[in-house]
Every structure is written in C-alpha cells, then in structure tokens.
C-alpha cells in the first residue's frame, strides 16, 4: 500500500466534562506535508495520538483509507503509520544505532536478524538526521536535540506511507530542523507519503508545509495553504498575538514577525 489518506470524521475526545477535541472533520491526503498548529492545549497532540491508535476517541473515528484505525492490529498499523511522540523516555543505555534499528521492528520477523536492506535503510535514515557519528553513543548521554534526531531517524527507518510527528524539531538547532523539514517535504512530494507535523514555529510551518490546519479549543479554526490561513486576524484570534505577515522579497513565501510590546 503506497498511498494513504487519513480521514478524521466527527472526532471528539474528552476527559469527564472537559472536551479536548470537539467534532473534528479533516482529510489528510498523500503527497503533501500537512501542518497542524494551534495554541497549547488546543488538542493537537491528542489528535495525533488518536490518529496513531494510541488513544480511543470518545466518539467519531479516524479512517486510514477505508479502514478505521482501531480495526488494525498493532503490527499492521506499524507498517502504515510511524509516530514521533513529543516525549520519550531513555532510561536504558541503548546505543543510537540500536534505537534507530528498532524502527525496523515491524518489518523483521521475531528471532530473525536484520537483513542487509534493513541495515541500508537504517544507515540512510541516520545519515539524513546527521547522527552517523553518534551511532555507538548510549541514548542516555545524548542532548535533547540529538535524542530528537534519533527518534525522527527511527520513524524514517520505519518506512511507512504515513508519518505523524509531534513537534519533532522543538529541541533541534536550526540547521538540523531545516534538514528534517526538507526531508519530510521530499518524502511527501517524491515518495507520495502522507506526512502530518505538529509545529509551534509558524515560520517553519509556512516555509515547508503544503497545508495548514489551525486548531483552537479542540475545533477546526481555519484550513488551507499557508497564504490562505496565516492572516493577522487569524493569529490574533487564535493565539492572541499581534503579528505582521509580509511576503519574502523573492516572493517565495511568508515571513511572520511578532509585535513584542502588546498582547491581547
């Protein structure tokens, strides 16, 4: 299966009285890099979690092509969707190469050794995220950004047609963040993968992503291309900030600058 469309249908999720997501309807098509943005607590991570099958929605459903997420076995799901969570837990001194090799887990039968193909895929994922020189370092010794690069490399090594990333670049330096986003865009455009990334950096989202989904209080606020969605009014309404949105001098995209003095 190479093309994969996620359909979010009437999706709601909540704990007790409080609603995190409220009747969301969204479609994420293959061949595009999709951004999900929104303020803290707007339900971005919860949405990603439900799409990855980690949480069960209160009502509504998420379809992968025609089949609901919960109708897949864990190992089927792991061949379709890879996930980079926001937090990870490295209590044991596995090496970086061990960790990236774990991305091949859904493809390697129990008690089998990794094949040469697996080794090639792992190596190329590590090269993309620039962690070849860290290969034999224990995870417990890595910096935050290095850990993030390792986890992104592991998701890339999983070679799934769908990829969900929750703030994957939040601890990376700008060079590695740009490299990661460039690779994600390349995978979407060249390999026709469906890639959804939650971002806080609106400039990064505007520069790389084909579509934007803006969430506010668990509801869809605006949806469309960066040029369509990122307006002064939207940013004020959603984030409560004053921003200037200008076109780059070579008109290749938008630049958002924030007014630091006033906030509403």
């Amino acid at each position: 299966m190479n093309n994969l469309t996620y359909t979010v249908r009437e999706l709601s999720f909540g704990y007790g009285q409080s609603d995190i997501l409220n009747g969301l309807n969204l479609t994420f098509e293959p061949g595009k890099l999709h951004a999900i943005v929104g303020p803290n607590g707007s339900g971005k991570s919860t949405l990603l979690d439900i799409m990855a099958g980690h949480r069960t929605p209160t009502s509504g459903t998420v379809l992968i092509n025609e089949t609901a997420v919960e109708d897949h076995t864990p190992s089927q799901l792991a061949q379709l969707t890879a996930m980079v969570p926001q937090e990870f837990n490295f209590n044991f001194p596995f090496t970086v190469v061990d960790a990236v090799l774990m991305g091949r887990h859904p493809h390697i039968p129990r008690f089998s050794r990794p094949s040469n193909d697996d080794a090639t895929i792992v190596k190329s994922a590590m090269k993309t995220m620039d962690i070849i020189n860290l290969a034999d370092r224990p995870l417990s010794e890595l910096s935050g950004g290095e850990k993030q690069r390792t986890v992104v490399a592991r998701a890339l090594a999983q070679t799934t047609p769908g990829l969900l990333l929750d703030e994957p670049t939040s601890s990376m330096d700008i060079r590695h963040a740009l490299a990661a986003m460039t690779e994600l865009r390349r995978l979407a455009h060249a390999a026709n993968h469906t890639i959804i990334v939650v971002l806080h950096d609106l400039n990064l989202a505007a520069a790389f992503c084909d579509t934007m989904v803006i969430l506010k209080n668990g509801r869809l606020h605006t949806q469309g291309t960066a040029a369509e969605t990122l307006t002064t009014e939207t940013l004020e309404d959603v984030f409560g900030v004053h921003a200037q949105i200008t076109e780059k001098t070579d008109s290749s995209g938008l630049v958002i600058t924030y007014d630091s003095k006033e906030t509403t």
Binding site: P74, A78, P85, F88, N89, F92, F94, R110, P138, R154
Partner: protein, 345 residues
C-alpha cells in the same frame, strides 16, 4: 553495519563463558563441605548416576552428593537465575532501573503468608504448608496490585509502582504486627524472612528449576518487545508492539517466577536488583543478551553465597545477608571501574 554482528559474537562468547563458569563453580562447590570431595570424584558420581552404571564410586560420596548437596545447589542456582531474570524484566517493564522482583509487593505478600503460617503454626499440608502459604500470599498480592493499577485499562508503570509500594507498606506493617505477636516464634519468622537453602529437597530443586527455565523462555520470546517497551510505551505502540498484552504476560511471568523462588527460599534481595545492572555493564542493555547473562550471573552469585554459608562459615548465615556482602563489593568495583573508563558499553 558490520559492527553489530561483531558485538553479537563478543556478547555470545561472554554468555558462553558465564555458563561455563557456572558449570565449573557448581562442580567445585558440590565437592565442598564437611566431607570434602575432589572435583574429579564429583564428576565421576554425576557421570555414573546419569549413565545408571552401578559402582566404582564411594557410596558415601554418592549419597552426600545426590541426596544432600545437589538438590540444595540446584535450588540456589535456580532461584538466583529466576530472581535475576525477573529483576531484568521488571526494570524494563517499569522503565525504572531501580525496580526489582519485589517492587510490586510479591515478596511482602510471600513474607506475610509465611509469617502467618509460622505464627499460627499451620501444618495442614505438612512441611510444604509454609511454602504454599508464602506462594498464596505472593499471588494474592500480585493480583491485588494489578487490579489496583489496571483501573484505567493501562497498567502504567507509575500506577504499578505506586500500587506495589502501598500494598507492600500495608503488608510490612502486618508482618511487624505478627512478629510482635509471635513471642518465641519470632526467631523462626526472622530467619525465614532472610532466606535460606538449608535442607532443600529434589522437589524444591525441580520446582524452582522448572519455573525459572519456563519463565525465562517466555521472557526471552518477548525480549525484543521488551527492548522497545523499555524506551516508552507510546513509541512501542507505534512500532507495532501490542504493549497491553506483552506487558501483562511479562508481568505475570516475572511475578510468578519471583513468587515460586521466594516461597521456596525466603526473601533474598539484592540479586534481582544488582545483577541486571552488573550484566548491563558487561553485555549492554539488549534484553536478548541481558536476560541469559543476568540469569547466569544471579545463579553464580547465589551459589557462591550459599556455599559460603554451608561450607566455609562455621554456622549457617541467612543467605540474604551474604548475597549483599559478596555481591555488593563486586558491584562497587565494577561500577567505579566502568564509570571512569568504558562506561556502559
């Protein structure tokens, strides 16, 4: 990518050496004791009993080895193996290098059951009553802890540890109360709590060996899933591990190994906590290698401790005390050495 296979070969060799070391140690320690028997004679006795030839060997040696020493040695080896394997699994499952086979209260449950049996002088199944009561206590505690932490459908590590700590605290208070009530029987309770392999039978040996080996096989089957789960349940799920099922299976397996070991030998701490750490220094964190290495290491440590108590010291000393006295300094030495030099490899 030639590096991993080279590491695998080296780690495999390490485990083979540990197994060989355990074998040699077992033969030597079988010869040690009130009646000293040369390793060659020990091997001759074993060989004859395996082949069923009647014999040329000393009849006294034969009965000392086969009826007295071997069951005890096999029990201590199996218990050490089982506790260390269980400890490795708990550390991975609970994402916590400080977890051990007793974190979930299995030991407190067993201790409470045994203390109760000793206090009330229960003997409805003869001498095995104590063992049964301890096992019952351990299993009831385990299910109470799992029921408490499974309310939200996820046996999350935090829930499990918290439930285990609370249940243990309640049971410890109960044990203290029993000791207070026990008057002259308090010595028997205290001695049981500190663990011992004195006069273990073939039944004990076969029971612990069977449980430890079967449990080990199950844990090894899920070793790769455990690797992934030890780096967090959410990542594990997206990598296709059925975390709920694997966690429950491993939890039950490791707890039942611990429960059987504790029922037979009393509470022996330290092995399940320290041996997995020690072996992580030696073979690394990959559970496919760490489980066998820990098992063998735990077996060697308990065999040494029990032999010291049985054959070297003038009087039998509780095994729990000796394990820490022998294993502690070894751990300190390796810990400081790896810290300054190679670190975790």
């Amino acid at each position: 990518m030639t590096a991993p296979s080279r590491t695998n070969a080296r780690t495999g060799l390490m485990i083979a050496l540990l197994a060989l070391g355990l074998g040699i140690l077992a033969v030597i320690t079988t010869g040690m004791g009130f009646i000293s028997i040369a390793p060659g004679d020990v091997l001759a006795v074993l060989w004859e009993s395996v082949c069923g030839v009647a014999g040329s060997v000393d009849a006294l040696h034969q009965s000392v080895i086969l009826e007295v020493r071997l069951p005890r040695i096999l029990t201590s080896v199996s218990v050490g193996f089982g506790l260390a394997v269980a400890g490795t699994v708990f550390q991975g499952l609970l994402l916590n290098p400080l977890a051990d086979p007793f974190t979930l209260g299995v030991s407190s449950g067993a201790a409470f059951g045994a203390a109760l049996a000793l206090l009330l002088g229960l003997t409805f199944f003869g001498p095995t009553t104590l063992c049964l009561m301890a096992f019952l206590g351990a299993v009831i505690t385990l299910f109470a802890v799992i029921a408490m932490s499974g309310r939200d459908g996820e046996l999350s590590p935090t829930n499990l540890i918290l439930s285990g700590v609370i249940v243990s605290a309640i049971l410890s208070a109960g044990i203290s109360f029993i000791k207070y009530m026990a008057d002259e029987r308090v010595a028997a309770i205290v001695f049981w709590l500190m663990g011992s392999f004195v006069s273990r039978t073939w039944t004990d040996a076969l029971l612990t060996a069977g449980t430890s080996l079967a449990g080990f096989a199950i844990c090894l089957y899920y070793a790769r899933d455990l690797n992934i789960m030890s780096l967090g349940a959410r990542s594990a799920k997206s990598l296709g591990v059925d975390t709920g099922r694997v966690r429950l299976i491993l939890l039950l397996t490791a707890s039942l190994i611990s429960a059987v070991c504790v029922s037979v030998s009393g509470i022996i701490g330290f092995v399940g906590l320290i041996i997995p750490h020690l072996m992580r220094f030696v073979v690394g964190p990959d559970n496919r290698w760490l489980l066998p290495a820990s098992g063998l290491g735990g077996a060697m440590l308990l065999l040494c401790a029990d032999t010291t108590s049985r054959a070297i010291l003038p009087n039998e000393v509780p095994i729990g005390v000796l394990t820490a006295l022998i294993g502690g300094p070894i751990f300190c030495w390796i810990f400081t050495r790896t810290r300054s030099g190679r670190r975790y490899e």
